[in-house]
């Protein structure tokens, strides 16, 4: 057994887990954060993407014990209270989801993608960057649209904040 202690969605949590417990199972089964999904067993589908210390990580590729000490954000922790994160809002507005199963991983991957491209995104980049996330419902069309729209919104927001600061 391993003792793990980490911060998840702003809360300190700890637990004792079987050594083989993956981070995704710790989140789902020990913490009840079932928004993070398991869609495959080969780290291909990306339904389990969360942020570990600010970076998008497939939580099925990491042991819970390895994540001890880190700061995790899951889909449940992305919105600012009642206010949706711009990526969440864009997925709804642009119909970027159907069955919703891949959606948490898509949204977590997309927020990371936008953060890594402060200069902006184009369709080809978004499609290439989504290589690690599989969706069977949408044909990606509206997911790509939603991510491009969210990137725009967030860059306007960032510029606004920069202006305010100046």
């Amino acid at each position: 057994m391993s003792d793990v202690s980490l911060t998840v969605n702003g809360k300190r949590v700890s637990g004792s887990v079987e050594d083989r417990t993956l981070l995704v199972h710790f989140l789902r089964e020990h913490l009840g954060l079932t928004g993070t999904h398991v869609g495959c067993d080969t780290s291909q589908c990306g339904a389990c993407v969360v942020h570990v210390d600010g970076r998008a990580v497939k939580s099925c590729t990491m042991l819970a014990a390895q994540a001890s000490g880190s700061t995790i954000v899951t889909i449940e922790g992305l919105a600012n209270g009642a206010e949706l994160h711009p990526v969440q809002a864009a997925f709804k507005e642009h119909h970027g989801l159907q069955c919703g199963f891949c959606t948490p991983g898509m949204i977590m991957a997309a927020t990371d993608m936008i953060a890594r491209h402060p200069q902006g995104l184009d369709e080809a980049t978004v499609r290439a960057e989504l290589d690690g996330n599989i969706c069977r419902c949408t044909g990606y069309h509206n997911i790509v649209k939603a991510i491009l729209a969210a990137a725009q919104t967030m860059s306007k927001g960032a510029k606004g904040k920069a202006k305010q600061a100046a």
Partner: protein, 782 residues
């Protein structure tokens, strides 16, 4: 059209929970005392079970139960069934072999469930599963349907000699022979439709809970049709009588047909819960999904299409061998027959058609409906043949199609169906315009200058949806009726619950069904809740598949709304002292036409429940139920055009553009309809370019993970140009045809027609992967 009414592009109500991690799928369910199950599956495609030794597994840490098929049979659990009886042309019934939920004497495909292990954790169950010792005597396996029907092939079921399940025909053989013999031209092809794995992103799962005190079972399951699951599990598998079995299909992460069927796992989890005294949850690994979900397609056909000297089709003959895998899944028999051969007339006026279909057992996963179900196979066969014929006859593909289009309705085809409405020229025109078809020659020349091969291909599809008139399908062998039910409950404060037998697993019913109510009463969609997926809440329903939720499910809602409206108008007329015929309901108000007299909607609802002042003899309450049985199938149709560019050095195909012009009849929410088309096209492009389930000769599935089976990813696809030009469906009250499957039906031939056009070859196998395309280019050079 109001901002939330029919035709409005309303953002989905259900999205809130999905984008915040609040969806509730079966794997998210936790029941006190719940334990975890792992199935021990056959590693062999064909073997006798000589011995099962569970002793060591039973003594492993955390293990609660290790149960076998013998115990299951001893408890009277029944075999799985196929729900559609097909008779061979000699009049004999289909030859169905037994499918035990846990194999007893023999295993017939890799992945066949043999033992269930229940333990405290999934890890412990997995460890114990590895300690179950099964002694097999391996037998020779057969995976290819065309080989399975050869004399001397390994025999999958004793009940079906030569593995032939049925040999069925439709149409007029003699007239078709005569048409072919007297034709000015006959186009002949061999058409292979590759086997696919549906791959809903949520793996199948089941949670069985037996309540001893109540002698009652609850099953949470990833189902597209929980009521059908309850019916079948009660009536055929002897799990429990219907009143003692509740089936709940909560949020379900995609289905595409693969979650219609009642599989062994949910039956076994329910039984195991009673046997072990604990709630039992099973969630498939992805590899289990590949092995044991029902697959799709897998047809091999020959086709002969006869033309007169004016390039009019005079006859069509088709001979198809359909691989049904190791067992007959729930609707496997109707897919290559009534959902396939009845569509062989396509959009064309064909005087005579004959189709012969042989269905065959092999040592592979069961094959059943996958998005489109028979209709993609028919469309692929027909549209590939039309393309080849156009090339042979030296006419443009568009011109050959136009010459043969059905232009007057209703149209009786020679293969049962009666098309009620459509405008095939309109879709073709719209698609050609959107694709700038006229400019293709120049684009091809430009590509050639860059050393690239450009091709363009079209496909004009039709499908039969809105399954289906119950009496009609009953006469064709269906074991069930295909109506839908609805209940509309107006609460005392005017908010509304709609209970439907349709099931949403991505289709957005919580929004579109609410839009229908908004249209009728002006109640905001936030005040309308759609209840589905629970046999304790919704009385009965047939579920969601075959693009039926709009055409059939919403028609049932419309019927129930009619009744609510009629009663509400009676109450309002009484309260407002007006004539019932003068009452109109608009924007949440109940008014007397031509006066300023009105009541807010909620006051009418309240009056129904206080019952202080109702018309004489009227029952209190405002709640109505309706069953809707469709009068006909619906016939969505359209034209898809794809343009591809191939790099001859690598064989890589780039889709430059993909255009869809569909006729879906009336549309409730264009945003959702477009989403359905996008998803369908992606699956169709997947079939054409990327996906294929491959078994080796010994029956091992070589494509059993996302490392081996190529799922379409964002980088494989373009953005799509979609549009609709609609002719309302005359057979249902809403004029809806359905849109769920069109994309997957129409797109594979459009892609392959474009690739063969680019390469200048007659045919290429699906999936047209880079290596396949590269090999075709090389073969042509040498």
């Amino acid at each position: 059209m109001g901002i939330e009414g029919v035709g409005a592009r309303v953002a989905r109500k259900e999205d809130k929970r999905f984008i915040t991690g609040g969806g509730r799928y079966v794997d998210d369910m936790v029941v006190p005392g719940m334990k975890h199950a792992v199935f021990v599956r056959s590693p062999h495609a064909h073997a006798q079970i000589k011995k099962i030794d569970v002793k060591r597994a039973q003594s492993m840490p955390g293990v609660i139960g290790v149960l076998t098929g013998k115990e299951l049979k001893a408890d009277g659990i029944g075999n799985l069934i196929c729900g559609w009886m097909i008779h061979s042309k000699d009049g004999s019934p289909m030859k169905m072999g037994a499918w035990s939920p846990l194999a007893v004497d023999k295993v017939r495909y890799v992945g066949d469930a043999v033992v269930i292990v229940v333990a405290d954790t999934k890890g412990q169950a997995r460890d114990a599963a590895e300690a179950v010792e099964i002694t097999y005597k391996e037998l020779k396996a057969v995976v290819d349907a065309t080989k399975a029907i050869q004399p001397g092939a390994p025999q999958v079921h004793a009940e079906a000699p030569n593995n032939l399940i049925f040999d069925w025909e439709i149409g007029d053989g003699k007239a078709t022979d005569a048409a072919i013999q007297s034709a000015a031209h006959v186009t002949r092809m061999k058409i292979v439709n590759n086997r696919l794995v549906p791959n809903a992103m949520e793996p199948r799962a089941a949670l069985g809970h037996y309540d001893k005190a109540e002698d009652h079972y609850t099953c949470w399951t990833t189902s597209q049709n929980p009521h059908v699951a309850r019916l079948v599990m009660s009536a055929f598998y002897n799990v429990a009588p219907e009143n003692k079995l509740r089936v709940i299909a909560p949020d379900v992460g995609g289905g595409f047909g693969s979650k219609i069927y009642i599989y062994p796992e949910e039956i076994v989890c329910l039984w195991a819960s009673k046997k072990t005294g604990v709630p039992v949850k099973w969630v498939a690994d992805r590899t289990e999904s590949f092995l044991a979900d029902a697959h799709g397609r897998d047809h091999v056909s020959t086709v002969e299409m006869a033309f007169d000297k004016d390039n009019r089709i005079t006859g069509l003959r088709v001979d198809t061998i359909a691989n049904l895998g190791a067992y007959m899944s729930l609707f496997s028999s109707c897919v290559p027959t009534y959902l396939y051969a009845t569509l062989l007339s396509g959009q064309y006026n064909i005087p005579t058609i004959h189709a012969n279909v042989r269905t065959v057992y092999t040592n592979t996963a069961p094959v059943d409906a996958y998005r489109g179900a028979g209709r993609p196979e028919a469309t692929y066969l027909l549209e590939r043949t039309m393309e080849t014929a156009a090339r042979e006859l030296g006419v443009s593909p568009a011109e050959l199609r136009r010459r043969n289009f059905i232009t007057s309705f209703p149209h009786q085809t020679p293969v049962i169906l009666n098309y009620d409405a459509g405008d095939y020229n309109a879709s073709l025109d719209a698609a050609m315009k959107a694709a700038d078809y006229a400019g293709f020659t120049k684009r091809k020349a430009d590509a050639a200058k860059r050393g690239k091969l450009r091709g363009i291909g079209m496909s004009c599809y039709i499908e039969a949806c809105g399954l289906a008139p119950s009496a009609a399908v009953g006469s064709l062998g269906a074991g069930v009726g295909l109506w839908e039910s609805a209940e509309v409950r107006v609460n005392a404060v005017g908010t509304i619950e709609v209970l439907t037998g349709s099931h949403s697993h991505g289709q957005g019913h919580e929004t579109t069904f609410a839009q229908l109510v908004n249209q009728r009463f002006g109640v905001p969609i936030d005040s309308v809740s759609i209840v589905h997926g629970d046999t304790d809440k919704v009385q009965m329903g047939m579920g969601t598949y075959g693009s039926r939720s709009g055409a059939v499910g919403m028609s049932a809602v419309a019927k129930a709304l009619d009744k609510v409206e009629a009663k509400a108008k009676k109450i309002a007329a009484h309260l407002l002292e007006a004539d019932e015929g003068d009452i109109v309901i608009e924007n949440g108000e109940v008014k007397v036409a031509g006066t300023d007299k009105s009541l807010p909607w909620f006051q009418v609802a309240l009056a129904a429940y206080t019952a202080h002042n109702l018309p004489s003899g009227m029952e209190p309450g405002l709640k109505e139920t309706a069953f809707y049985d469709p009068a006909n199938f619906t016939f969505p149709a359209g034209c898809y055009i794809s343009e591809v560019e191939i790099d001859p050095e690598t064989g890589v195909t780039d889709i430059i553009q993909f255009v869809a012009a569909d006729d879906f009849g009336n549309i409730i929410n264009p945003m959702i309809v477009e989403g359905q088309v996008h998803g369908g096209i992606a699956q169709g492009i997947g079939q054409a370019l990327l996906e294929g389930a491959h078994y080796d000769g010994s029956g091992q599935l070589l494509t059993a993970s996302y490392m081996d089976y190529t799922m379409p990813r964002a980088g494989d696809l373009p953005s799509f140009k979609v549009s609709t030009s609609n002719t309302p469906c005359p057979s249902n009250p809403l004029g809806i045809k359905g849109c769920g499957e069109a994309g997957a039906i129409g797109s594979p031939p459009a892609i392959i027609n474009a690739i063969t056009d680019a390469l200048g070859v007659v045919d290429i196998a699906m999936p047209a992967s880079p290596s396949t395309v590269w090999s075709a280019i090389r073969a042509k050079k040498h």
